[in-house]
Amino acid sequence: MAEKPLSNVSLLPTQRFDRLDMGVAVAVAALILAIALVLLSGDRVGISVRRFVPQGLASSQSVVQITFDEALDPESVADKLSLSPAAEGEISVTGNQLQWQPAQALQQGQTYTVRLAEGVRAHNGRLLLEAHEWEFRVRAPQVVFMAPVDNPIQNLFMVDPNQPDAQPQQITFSEFGVLSYDITPDGSRIVYSELGDQRTAHLRLYDLRANSTLTLLECPTAACTTPAWRPDGGVVAFERSDLNLDTGAGPGAPRIWLVDTTTGIPRPLFADSQRLGYSPRWSPDGRFLASYDANVGGIVLFDFAANAERLIRTPQGEVGQFSADGRWLFFPKIIQLAGTTRYVAHFVLVDLESELMVQRDLVPESDPNNDVELAWLPDSRRLIITRRPPTITTMQGAQLHLIDLETNETTPLVTDGDYSSGQVAVSPNGEQLAFQRFALAKPGARAEIWLYDLTTGDLRLLANNATLPRWLP
C-alpha cells in the first residue's frame, strides 16, 4: 500500500484537505457558477401558446381566443394583439386565456392575420418570447334551414348563399327530427330542440368551431322546445312542457325555463310553477327576456338586472322581435277596418326606453293591408314587412315590403302574386334576406328558401323543400 504514508501525512493540520476535497470544492463552485449563469442568462423558452382560434374559415363575428400554458398577467397584454388588416376590438384575459372580441363584424372573404407580439407576461413572470402569428379567413354568413319539408323528420342544413352552385350541407342527423333552433350572434353555436321518444324533446348544441354535437339538456319527462340564445351565448331560454307521463294527464302548458350553457343546470324563469309562458325572446343586451303569458294576456318583459317584470297587454299571443338597438319590440293587433266587415292584422311598436312603454302603430288604422310578419333590419330604423294586399281573392300570397320608420315610406321588394312569402331572416349586414316562398299556383309545390339582395334586387332560389331560414353569421 504505497499510499499509506500519504494518509498519515494528511492527518496533519496543514494537509487537512486532500485532492478530493479540493476537487469537490472546485466542482461545487463551478456548478454553482454555472447555475447562476443559466439563471442570469434568463428564460429562453418562456410561455407558449397551447391553442388558438379561429383557424381556417371563421365567422365574421368570430372571437379570437388564445390559450397559454400559464395564467396571464392582464396588464401585459395591452397593445400586444393586432389584426391585419386592422380591426377594432376589445381584449380581455381570464386565467390562461386571452380573448379579443371584434367591435364590428369582420370583413367577409378577408384573410386576417392575427399577431400576438412577444412580451406577454405570465403571472409567474415568464414571457412570451416569440411573437405568435396565424391567419384565418372570414367566411360569408351562411343560411341555415330545416329540411325536408315533406318529411315529418327534419334536420338542419346550411348553405353558402353567395355561391350559386353551393350544395347544402347537413348539420344535424336526428333520428326523430329537429323541432326548432337558434343561432348565437357570434355564429359559433346552434342550439336545437330534438324530438326523443314518447314525444319528449331535448336540447342539443352544435358547435361549429369543433363541428361537434353535444347535449345541452336532456328532458326525459318533458318537451323542451323553442330555444333562444341569450346574445352572449351563456344562457338558453326555452319552452318546457311537462308530458305528465306518470299521471297520464297529457302534455301540459309550456313554461319558460333557462339553462346555463356552461354548467348545464336548468331552472324555471319563475319560481311559481303556475306561471305559463312561451315564445322567449331576448333583448340584444341580454337584460330582458320577453315571453307571452296567456294567463295574464300579454307579453311579460322580465328584467334580469332589476329582477322585475313589466307587462305589455295584447290578446294576440304573439311576441315580436327586439330591434338591434334594444329600443323597440313589436307585436301584432287585429282590428276591424272601419266601415267594413274585414279584419286585418297590423303591427304595434313598443318604445321600451320610454317610461310608460309608449305604443306606436306601424301603419294607420285605416290601412287596408293585412300585415302578417315583421323583421328588423340591423339599423333599427327599417323593417321588412310581409303583407297581404287587400284584394279579396282567397288565395292571396303575402309579399315583402320595406318600411322606413322615419319616413313612413313603404317600398315593395318581392311582389309576385303567385307566391306567398314569409319567415324573413335578415343577413347580419342587413343587405340580404333569406325567406321562405311557396308557389300558390303550382299543385304539389313545396316550401322553398329564396335569397333577395336589397342592394341589387337579385332574387335567387337557395334550397328546395326547406323551411325556417336563419342566418349564421
Partner: protein, 309 residues
Amino acid sequence: MEFSTQLSLFSTRFLGIFIEAVSFLLLGTIVSGLIEVFVRKEDIARLLPRNPFAAIVAGSFLGFLFPVCECGVVPVTRKLYQKGLPVAVGVAFLLAAPVMNPIVFASTYAAFGFGPILIGRFVITCIMAVAIGLIFSLQRNPIKMLHPRALMAMAGGSGAAAPQPSAPRLSVGQGIVRAARVATDEFFDMGRYLVMGTALAAGMQTFLSQEQIRALASDPSMSAVAMAIMAFVLSICSTTDAILALSFANFGFPSGSLLTFLTFGPMVDIKATLMYLSVFKRRVVFYMVILPLLMSLLFGIFINLNVRF
C-alpha cells in the same frame, strides 16, 4: 382527519412501499451474497478496463450487468469494494446503476415513451455518474473514503497489509449456504434503512400537504428545486419513479424539473443516503449528495429555461 384514519393510511402506504421495495432489496442482497461467494476480485479486475477513465465509464454501465435499483445497489457496491473495486468506479456504479439498467429503461419507456425524457434521463445520469466518478478518482486511497466497517471486510479482518489467501472454490451447496448467510446479514443491515426511509416517505405522504410544492411547479428554477426535494424525500424506487414523475407532469412540472427528479432521485434520497453512510465516510457521503444535487439542478434549470419541447 382522525388519528385512526391517518394511522391506517400511513400503515397502508408504509406496507405498500415496504412490500414493493423489500423484493428489490432481497434481490440486491442475494446478488450481493452471490457476488461475495462466487465473484473473485480478479474477475472484477478482469472485467474493468485498466484506464481509470474507461473503468469509470464502464462502472456507470455495470448496472446492465447487475440490474438492481437503489435499494439493492448499496450492498452490491459494498461487496464489490470488498472485492477490490476502485472507489471511484464504485461511486460511478452506485450513482448510475439505479438508472442504467434494463428495468428502469422499461419503466421509463412505459411512462414517457421514446422521447426527450427517456433519452435525457439516461444521458444525463451517465454524464453525472462519470463526472462524479472522475472527481472521486482524485483520491485513490479507500481508507480515506470508506466506512471502517466496509473496510474491515475488505482487509480480510487482519489489516490492509495482510495478503488475502486465494480462497479455494467452495462447492455449490456450501456456496449457496454461505451466500444465504451473507444475504441475511446484508438484508438486516440494509433493511433498517429501508424501513426508516419507507416510514419517512409514507409519513410525508400522509401527514404533509403537497400543495405548496405544486404551486412551485410553474417556476422554472424553483420547480427543479422542488422536484429535487421531492425526489429526496419520497425515496421512491428507481424502477418505478418514472410513473410517479408522470403524475408530476400532470401537476404542470416542466420537463427539465422532471429530469431533475428522474436523475437525482435514483442517486440520492433519504433511504439511499442512510445506506451510503454504512459504506462511505460522512464527508464522502456529503459529496455524493451535493454533487448530484447541483448537477441535476443545473441540467434541470438549463433545460427549463433553454429547451422547448
